[in-house]
Amino acid sequence: MRFPHRLAAAALAVGLTGFAPLTAHAQNAPATATTPATQPEQYFPLQSYRVGPYAAGGTGFFGGFIDYMTLINSRDGGVNGVKLTWDECETQYVVEKGVECYERMKTHQPPPSAWNPLSVGIAYAMIPGVTADKVPLITIDHGRTDSTDGAVFPYVFPLLMNPYSESSAIVNFIGTRVGGDDKLAGKSIVVLYHGSPYGRETIPIYQLLAKKYGFTLQQIEVPDPGAEQEAQWLQIRRIHPDYVVLRGWGVMNPVALKTAQKTGFPADHIIGNVWSNSEEDASPAGHAAVGYIALTTQATGTQYPVIQQIENTVYKAGKGDMADHSRIGSVYYNLGVVNGILNVEAIRIAQAKFGNHTLTGDQVRWGFEHLDLDPGRVAALGASGLFHSINVTCSDHEGHGLVTFQQWDGTKWNRISDWIAPDWDLLRPIIEASANKYAAQNNITPRDCSKEAAN
């Protein structure tokens, strides 16, 4: 698998130094090849990151997303005859690069359907812009928690799970491990978080949950990038907690697992969050990762019909995006596929209202806001077991996604829990308070969602 990679690299190097036009014409790319003007298009600008410290996440996620769109194009001829097209723009997960990509691609014709940057920082920087442009911004599994309140953030969608729901679901899971939520009282939990806005976002939520369930809580920070965690794990060794929640990112995750082993903390009492849950987080830790548990909104594996179809149609035809085929079915890849499903279904739902032609961003937004995929519909899409369901409304842009937990056996993840629901009712008032504060600071009049529902 590496040889073609190097070959491509060499060709690329040659290309940029002068033979570019020849190379570019020699191969006709499947992804962005121009389509005949007769077929309408639906365009997705992709702010991907395939290099830099977080490349593993970017290649998997955008690979899965692109492969799913390729599948829709080749299997169904697009969405109701509307072909999906896209461009990639490399961000390296750097905010200003993401912003430049946004500005570069936002004037594309046909107009962007939705933005999917998979980066909190880039998403934040785009919120005013996409609101003005009236194009939805998708932050699947992450993003600004208070953007769940669609009344204040009409164009932002933290689909499936926001950071608060994630924290609540992890505590609920620990509850099931200790024999019921009532047994949480008196237990001790340490949250080890990445020293960044992302890592710190859930600090008040864990405090709230500790108060509600009566467990003792300590939250310990690991400064970015986290290649060195002796001090933190020595503290954990002294605290001797029942569980450690790992809220990591990038290199911090394998190092946490290795250092845990070094200080004698059992891996099966470490619960990783959504950005500590991939193969790339566990496998570099080797034996130290065996038994490690992590949360996910989408199961791993290739056994789901939709992934099978991607392998059988897209990859058989040589149109697959992943250079490393073994990563098909991995956590980030499957998240990309789920993200593809949600984007495509939002378009399908919007087409039912606005017609089967190229939609504007605002029309796609309407589709997202009425994105209701029950388990039956998920099964029809060939994704039963891949993810549970989603039901987005005007006031709830997260869509009540369920999560599951998986355990690392040294080579792959295995699901070890049912689909678990976070405690949405507990979190909702905090989300609304935060959203309303944002609205006041930014002179936004929240929409009345009871009127929107009638639409």
Partner: protein
């Protein structure tokens, strides 16, 4: 007050750049190129005052940009009705005070020892801004969307207005810098840089001059940070002011030319615009064939090679190159 040719040229350039607005059709040029160019140029100008003129190399400039951005945000948040320009000025003053504190080691250390010590500022400021959410107005996530901006009731909400405001502020501060470096302050800076002992003998107050350089430089960098966050990114986030940004500013002044005001602008043009050109060329030529990651890696290699080649060909920077090419009739001796 008499105006020298230098100032007249700068003012003329300002009018050219302002009057060009209606002739530039695309917002992209303003929001993705010109506005960040101006902010980076201003920050580099500030760094050049410290590193180029006063000879104190800093690797912590991005931290001062962060201080400026977060100060401006907090002034606007906590003092309702505070005019934007006053908030920017106050942000510059706060950053200058910070600069003096972190400039204290420069009284004892020199060279790389000083440069590496400035990394303390870089990491400490990022840590403070990330860890104490008072600075982000109690926002749980630590990333802030900038509030709506107004000047005298006019909303600064379009790319052209962002650009014009940046242009006005940067031009004003550039004129001020030109005056300073051509006057007594500039000569004292250079005296300290070239030979501290001799300067002391000649009666230059080393302590005062060094701290003055720190304060002045930080003032500029702080305002640049606020412009970067408010007028370009629309978001304030500690991670955006990381070590890479500090290195970027150093690249700007090395490539533009140390101890040269116009060097900051030339260098910023090179460092801000070149990667964009590379990236667009790469995307246009090869984007259809190769994934964006590979294209980006090649761009990074080319950028690195260009920097090395450039340092070999013209170690004194674009500013010197311009002078050598005898374009000075128009620019060199004046700006």
């Amino acid at each position: 007050m008499t105006l020298s040719r230098t100032h007249l040229t700068a003012i003329a350039l300002f009018f050219v750049m302002a009057l060009a607005v209606p002739f530039i059709p695309s917002d992209y040029l303003f929001e993705a190129i010109l506005t960040p160019f101006l902010a980076i140029a201003l920050a580099a100008l500030g760094l050049n005052l410290l590193a180029g003129y006063a000879g104190q190399v800093s690797l912590g400039s991005a931290a001062f940009m962060a201080v400026g951005a977060f100060s401006a945000y907090n002034f606007l948040l906590r003092i309702p009705g505070l005019p934007l320009l006053l908030a920017l000025l106050l942000a510059g003053v706060v950053t200058a005070a910070f600069g003096v504190i972190f400039g204290l080691p420069s009284l004892r250390l020199r060279g790389f020892y000083l440069a590496i010590s400035t990394l303390a500022a870089q990491f400490f400021v990022q840590w403070v801004l990330t860890n104490f959410n008072w600075f982000s107005g109690g926002d749980t996530s630590g990333i802030i969307n900038t509030p709506p901006l107004f000047i005298g009731g006019v909303a600064i909400d379009t790319p052209v207005r962002d650009y014009l405001l940046s242009l006005a502020i940067v031009s004003l501060l550039t004129l001020l810098a030109l005056r300073l470096v051509s006057g007594r302050t500039g000569r004292e800076f250079i005296a300290v840089r070239d030979n501290e002992l001799a300067a002391r003998v000649l009666g230059v107050k080393i302590l005062r001059v060094k701290l003055m350089a720190c304060a002045l430089s930080s003032f500029y960098i702080g305002i640049a940070g606020a412009l970067w966050a408010f007028l370009y990114l629309n978001t304030v986030e500690p991670a955006g002011f990381d070590l890479d940004r500090s290195f970027q500013l150093l690249f700007v002044i090395i490539i533009g030319g140390l101890a040269s005001i116009r060097g900051a602008f030339l260098g910023a043009a090179f460092i801000v615009v070149l990667p964009l050109l590379l990236s667009r060329a790469g995307a246009a030529l090869l984007g259809a064939t190769f994934d964006s990651g590979l294209v980006d890696i090649v761009e990074k290699i080319i950028l690195g090679v260009l920097i090395i080649v450039f340092l070999r060909i013209e170690p004194a920077g674009l500013s010197a190159l311009l002078a050598r090419l005898r374009l000075d009739r128009f620019f060199a001796s004046t700006l």
